[in-house]
Symmetry: D2
Subunit: 281 residues, 4 copies
């Protein structure tokens, strides 16, 4: 069990009344408990909240009047992610996958697993299936793709990254997801507050659906190796980044660079080398 404190401050300016939908609340789910939480909007204005049943993503919407506003979110989060020996975590044959996770096998906007089928199978097909194969995918991405801010944009997809070989956390996650799906491993995108990420920012990682000693579940992977998986505080899960923007607005706006921070256990705590799973099933 580890306790974290997360904060995000976002500032926007609009010229006319503009709807905004935010997804920046930490999820409340098995293994991730919110012990305290505040959202402040300045100036105050009404906001509507909704939690998507199938994902647990928490949205809130406001209609910003002309002028500026600021949203400050802070939460205390207790994570209880089990860890397991990587070698004890296996892939699940398609005939045994819960039908509810099939959705995370399909190609999506930024994860065109259908176009990367042969690449994935040529590169990773001969490896023994299991956690270590997904780790090998992450290693491949880490070794073959440069982390370069500005090298990609909102249109960049896994199909581009596999040949252009540069991107940011979002692109790394998309490529990991696409390669997993091409191998028949359900995988999904996770936006998160990420402990030890430098510089602090919103982060993107992915989860793969595997079977460990305590049964099937979602395991965390970070191909950027920039954060500690056991300190991933989940905000949104979805097929890819298209589904978990932290802010969606319907109109023109200006924004300030988000201020994001997360503090956790003492810096001396070593990061785990175990497989980290969530308690989602």
């Amino acid at each position: 069990m580890m306790d974290f404190s997360v904060n995000a401050v976002l500032g926007y300016r609009v010229k006319q009344a503009t709807p905004f939908v935010f997804n920046l609340h930490a999820q409340q789910c098995a293994g991730q408990a919110i012990t305290a939480e505040t959202v402040r909007i300045e100036p105050e204005m009404p906001a509507e909240s909704w939690t998507m049943p199938e994902s647990g993503n928490r949205y809130f919407r406001l209609i910003a009047p002309p002028g500026g506003f600021k949203i400050s979110y802070s939460a205390h989060v207790r994570l209880d992610h089990p860890t397991e020996a990587p070698n004890a975590v296996h892939e699940i044959p398609p005939g045994e996958l819960p039908l509810s996770v099939l959705t995370q096998l399909y190609p999506s906007r930024y994860c065109q697993s259908d176009r990367l089928d042969r690449f994935a199978n040529r590169t990773f097909g001969a490896m023994p299936p299991g956690y270590q194969r997904v780790a090998a995918i992450c290693n491949w991405i880490h070794d073959n793709v440069d982390y370069v801010a500005g090298a990609s944009d909102a249109l960049t997809s896994a199909y581009d990254t596999v040949s252009q070989r540069a991107g940011v956390c979002r692109d790394f996650a998309h490529l990991g997801i696409a390669l997993c799906r091409a191998l028949g491993i359900p995988a999904r995108y996770v936006s998160a507050y990420a402990w030890r990420l430098e510089p602090p920012d919103f982060h993107a990682v992915f989860e793969a659906f595997l079977r460990g000693p305590s049964g099937p579940g979602w395991y965390l992977f970070d191909p950027t190796r920039m954060a500690a998986p056991e300190g991933i505080v989940r905000i949104g899960i979805g097929r890819d980044a298209a589904e978990v923007a932290f802010c969606t607005q319907f109109g023109e706006m200006e924004f300030d660079k988000p201020e994001v921070s997360i503090s956790g256990p003492s810096d001396a705590t070593p990061a785990t080398t175990q497989a980290v799973r969530t308690r989602d099933t």
Copy 2:
């Protein structure tokens, strides 16, 4: 209220035990009642069923042993799709959309609304919002895209179709969805048994989320104009075709051309010119 009888017969051959997931059952939902239904698998084998809560899609999975097998599905379906005057059906401002439909505003694998934003707004942005604008999108597709079997393939997306200008029902639906989303109208893909489709086959149409006299809901559109909207028996709904394949298999197989048929009211019944909505909310 209209009664339909649908049938599908699918044949496959595999060399080794192969998992198959089918999504060919008609949905059971408000406005679409299954009054009788049979599935026969020859040779008999165990199958597992599951209905996805958020979509109502009905899946069943079997593991086909080496050799051939045949699935025959037939159902009696009673449709009770309300119709409304097109001019009474309006778009919903983004600040008023139920947050649960936001998912159908995001770009997806085959419906890259993010890349068609300017095209959509230049072409349809100045039109008065409402049912008629979505109808105008369908008219544009019908007038500017050729229906040509074989002109597209499993990789073809709306982004291709808007410039290549040829495709089949799936491509027509993808383009309609992408253009709606680019205009801020939630839209989703529907696979269906389609009354009066010639030649009979599985069909693809789309639904847009609008507000009519009886409140917000999903309205049916068929940019191919090949089927009668009031005779659309829904099988699957999803972000796009990636999510509603009628058959997903995990291994190599050979297949026979599916035999699909649907019979309904007398051929003399005229098709409606009204807006057809579903009872989904």
Copy 3:
């Protein structure tokens, strides 16, 4: 006959010896005479010149030592572009095209005429062939594509522009070329100093191969409508922008925004409404 004075000043900084190839000299060809010309490089350094026989493009190469350098080009150019009545200019059937222009019918990096075949034929196929059809293509581009600096980048091609609907002169020219080629009209890219372009800069237009009263030849088109065709001073011609960069360098560099200017006849001179051809054959 019209006299123009063109100037370009380019500044670069490199950290190590770096080869640069420039293509910023005005062509010397029938209808475009250089009456005076100077190139100054500061600091002085050796440079090598070469004119490509098949295009007339004039290149020069230098190897810049570490530090900064500046190139100043200026020329007096006399243009003698014939003008003809648009209605007297016709397309040439493929069986009668000189075989030497077939190259300009093929798809190229940024002008994927092969992918725009159906679009071109659906949109322009029914028009009477001739100069006016190419003018209609230019009108379509002008009416349907927004001129937006920054909306495109070095990877943007005609296939993107036809659906993204925004770009700069280079993108407008690429789309014009691709649509012409798809209709069987040879077309090529032209980089130029352009009279009356505001703000002054390097410009891009295109030429189509047609047959006028004085025989077959290349006719100038500017789908941006930002420059006067009779005041186009050609620098480079090629299949598309890939072939006529004004600067190609082999290594990292920093550069200043180019200063480009062109002065010509009195501002009161009205621009022609005639077809403008070059004397190339």
Copy 4:
């Protein structure tokens, strides 16, 4: 010096008068002498010939009347391709390349070297430059791309092949060219009659511009490893396949599968392991 006999028989059927342009004559150039040659068209009809000065490609055009026709080409060709020790063949720094070959450094329709820059440099950038680096590119393609007839089509480009990992000789050549250009090595596409190709067909290879003991020149590479480089009888050279189709027609047609054959020295002759260059400069 080696003697080859090549033959090609092509049959077409058209419904209306249709222009055809063929590029199936072997080039006549230094190192490739045509000692005898016949073209027969049945039924006889007029044809026009043209050789492109900058490439040496030989075209002929005819306007086929309604009905069928057949073209039979046969030639005796004497090849005199020098061979050199691979280790004696070096890359040429961009500051020393003849300006006339810069064209073959630019991205083209099917060889988007601009989009593969980082991939090429990450994968091959650290190798010592020279013939062996181009050979390493060919080895990489051979090892990572499956030769699968039907896996690609006329729209497939190097950018696709690098991630889809399947194609035919044309795709292999495109990828080799794109990777060379991304590394600063001029490279061009070659269509050819290819000795020992099984089954016999038109073939595609590529040439890279390097400097050997006898000076700079074009060296042959075949990433498919399906033909013997010293037995490549060149038909056309160009930026990529867009420029060297063996048949371009302007209208609808039906065609028979081409019959192509080439015979050469005794089958016992071992293929060279040396670098094979052309006498082009």
